[in-house]
Amino acid sequence: MILPPLVIDVRVKEAGTRGFRIWFPFVLLWPLLLLFAAFALLVALLVDAALLFSGARYHHYPLLLLKSLHLLAEVRGTHAHVVGSDSLVDVYIY
């Protein structure tokens, strides 16, 4: 089962400073995301039905929405690590 990201971990540090780290539990936003997705899916279904009845060739909005959510889920595992001469930035999504 493909799930959206659980945590977004951001670390920023500059020489001579303590730096900061944000460990954001994205999992807490899942209920909101679910509500949004359900609402958007409903709207997309209505739009699709209207397009289908009007004879439009393109009517794949619900599928587009689901694939977009799939894309969001596949972001898991992305990691960026940048070390400058006096700073460090590390972003990890998992």
Binding site: A15, E74, G77, H81
Partner: protein
Amino acid sequence: MSEERARILGMLAEGKITAAEAETLLDALASTIEESTAATPGPAPASDWPTGPSASGTPKFMYVKVTGKDKVDVKVPLALLRAGLKLTSLIPPQAMDQINESMGEAGMSIDFNNLKPEDIEEIIASLREMEVNVQAADGDNVRVFCA
């Protein structure tokens, strides 16, 4: 600019240290930052990532490594690339035409309308053998590979 960095550059400007000494000090400063951050709990550090394409098996990630003045390590799941390419086949035609036009203006004449699901799998599979190695004139080195 950090206090330490400014102090090193100040010493260099005053002639108290040579350019080579300043470079050594700045390098030491950068490694101190990296070590102190790597010590904190979290994901595996970029130093543990593969250094080249995998010889066998299906690649899972695309790696972008930049070395030089700054060091950049980026790891992107290939599943994200696959999902993105599949999404392009569902984009409404009007929007796709605009995307193709904008990409054409930017010098990338790729027509996503021609991309089929079977092509996507072939692209992902052939990425295993791909390796891009760019050596810039200023000493920066960029490597892109999948492993």
